[in-house]
């Protein structure tokens, strides 16, 4: 639960959107704030917050907030 909140905070701050909008179904390119440029900033922020370095394939596959949680689980981040 703690990491879900942490990730939600990272999404909200990085995409500059209200935290309430960060739900599992929030998808890449579904809102103007989450475009390709913002995606790279988001990835950098996730790397930094969880002290990991996402694979390029995972960066490409990170198509929603829900998917981001699944991907981070591969890096031993527990949700």
């Amino acid at each position: 639960m703690e990491n879900t909140e942490k990730l939600r905070q990272v999404f909200a701050e990085s995409l500059e959107i209200d935290k309430n909008k960060v739900v599992d179904s929030l998808e890449y390119n579904s809102i103007p704030e989450w475009d390709s440029v913002a995606h790279m900033s988001l990835v950098a922020a996730i790397d930094s917050a969880f002290d990991i370095m996402l694979d390029t394939d995972d960066v490409i596959d990170m198509s929603s907030f829900g998917e981001a949680k699944k991907i981070l689980a591969k890096y031993d981040v527990e949700f």
Binding site: V37, M40, A44, D47
Partner: protein, 246 residues
């Protein structure tokens, strides 16, 4: 000019790369020195750290191997979370006429000179995005702009750097990350010593300043691009060639 900054330089065992790390270190940068061969940069880093009172760490990886690049950046993250400058210098030369080019060479030259630059930029840009600033410097070549007989593969790989640099500069400018390239002319490195005497003289005759360039002259341009002196310069390919004509 670079006090407190962290700079990654690829391919700095000798030649231009080595001159760049030495120039950066002299100007106060902390150095992340990349080479392929484990142990080959240990002494250089120890010496630079001692002489200039900076952090200088070797980071060994093959830029043409995406997995190795990732692992290299994981090592970098253990040294520092900050990356201000990345110089993509690692490269190989190939002098072969079109009819003599073999597919293995094409793969190898492009893998190191062009693809490696992309792989390093991907991770470097991610680190720089965190701090919303950075400078990426790619090494192209005068032959990447003008072409040259006997260098279809090499010049092609260096021409790719022009497109890579200009495109990345457009993508990364909103994050205040600048991307520029240097296009050296005829520079006194091990690479030029592979030329025949006749070819060497031919090249010398094509230089308006009537002398070969030095690695330090390329390093000085890299210093400018790495520093805040060039804070509004991005997407540029800067020729450092003494007025060479091809």
């Amino acid at each position: 000019m670079l006090e407190g900054k962290f700079a990654l330089v690829t391919g700095c065992t000798r030649g231009i790369g080595r001159a760049i790390v030495e120039t950066f270190a002299r100007n106060g940068a902390n150095i992340l020195a990349n080479g392929r061969t484990e142990g080959s940069l240990d002494d250089l880093c120890t010496g630079l750290a001692k002489e200039h009172g900076i952090t200088a760490e070797p980071v060994y990886f093959d830029v043409s191997d995406p997995a190795a690049v990732k692992s290299g950046f994981q090592k970098i993250l253990k040294i520092t979370k900050q990356l201000d400058v990345a110089v993509n210098n690692a490269g190989v030369l190939d002098n072969n006429l079109l009819g003599m080019v073999n597919p293995k060479t094409v793969q190898e030259v492009f893998a190191i000179n062009a693809f490696g630059t992309i792989y390093v930029m991907q991770y470097a840009a991610r680190l720089m995005m965190k701090q919303k600033q950075g400078s990426i410097i790619n090494l192209s070549s005068i032959v990447g702009i003008n072409g040259n007989e006997g260098q279809v593969v090499y010049s092609g790989s260096k021409a790719a750097i022009v497109g890579i640099t200009r495109s990345a500069s457009k993508e990364l400018a909103p994050a205040n990350i600048r991307v520029n390239a240097i296009a050296p002319g005829f520079i006194d490195t091990d690479m030029v010593r592979t030329l025949s005497e006749e070819k060497f003289q031919e090249r010398m005759d094509s230089i308006k300043m009537r002398r070969i360039g030095t690695p330090e002259e390329i390093a000085d341009c890299a210093l400018f691009l790495a520093s805040d002196q060039s804070r509004y310069v991005t997407g540029q390919i800067i020729g450092v060639d003494g007025g060479m004509l091809i």
